[in-house]
Subunit: 153 residues, 3 copies
Amino acid sequence: MTDSIDEAVRRLVDEREIVGLAVRYCLAVDARDYDALRDVFVADATACFAGRDEIGLEAIIGRCRDTLDPCDATQHLVSNHLVTLEGDTATAQCELQAQHVRRGGDGGSTFTLGGRYRDRVTRTPAGWRIAHRELEVVWIAGNPGVLGRPPGP
Amino acid sequence: MTDSIDEAVRRLVDEREIVGLAVRYCLAVDARDYDALRDVFVADATACFAGRDEIGLEAIIGRCRDTLDPCDATQHLVSNHLVTLEGDTATAQCELQAQHVRRGGDGGSTFTLGGRYRDRVTRTPAGWRIAHRELEVVWIAGNPGVLGRPPGP
Amino acid sequence: MTDSIDEAVRRLVDEREIVGLAVRYCLAVDARDYDALRDVFVADATACFAGRDEIGLEAIIGRCRDTLDPCDATQHLVSNHLVTLEGDTATAQCELQAQHVRRGGDGGSTFTLGGRYRDRVTRTPAGWRIAHRELEVVWIAGNPGVLGRPPGP
């Protein structure tokens, strides 16, 4: 191990917190607790979802709300976390599988999106936060009408 | 980092073992090695699956057996682990995607369940163990008849 | 904790790198960057995919290429990582859910494979590498014709 023990521990703790950001984002949107996103992103964060324009935090929250509120249930799974630390900033990416469900008289309907989040994250006095998030869509299946807003650009 | 290095390492090791509990549960049930669940739960553990009554360890094992034995194959994926340590106890939650397969003359059939485990875990002389588990079902898809017992209450 | 702090940190760092191997394999094949597999496996690595014959690294790369190149998109999710360290070698296993997509005039088609990787990994001067990989297929769904080569033996 080339790191000193102290340095190795600091890296492990940082990586754990950065992976935790991706998890807390999922919990926030799946619980429709959009205000909790303010503890995931920095105040001047930006995001590009699925090749659309870059938007700021209020628009990120609005986009999540518009897309997910019409669903009866959603589940965002993230895995394959890869974090590259560079001091007080880092890049982080993970794979996403998001399930969206609308229950209905006809047995309901689902829409599944497989994608990849690529984040730039930054250390703040309150902990690590996402400064920029990109969502690349890899595959979709099911009925996009389940969403309040289609996933495309 | 507010923790001392030693304290940070102890937390990382604890979290790793607690995440390992969720993984070992999956391996046990997917291998139909129900006795291995005795090394995942404390002897007086309780669980609530999908809003049903609270049950003890023997009933947990019986419920897993009754539900999964009729399946030809199952795969329990867990991700989005979130652990909150409080000394010798902790809360742990993760997302679950469970696939259940029954092969058959007509090409077979699958039942998929997306949910969330919420666990209270406790440190024992033998390591961390689950003291209480709740399974919240978020979505289901496919044919519930694949299971020996339906997932509802 | 029975380990000394230093030993515990070394184990955490080793486990993190070994889990990273499984993640980098997925990134390489999903990006069709097959040469990157040379930084995931040792040069004399072997693999058994889905009960087929044991093959060497060039054949592993060829098999990935033949299977995945016809797909328009793939996503390999790995989770449930379990690493058992034994000095400079380790066993590692994880669950896999691989999605394969071919887009087409008829709305396209998908093939999903659920399985389990069981790896023997080894420490090299360049870091941890996979020495032997086995893929056990647990379930499949969808249209195997999406692949360039069927997943069976």
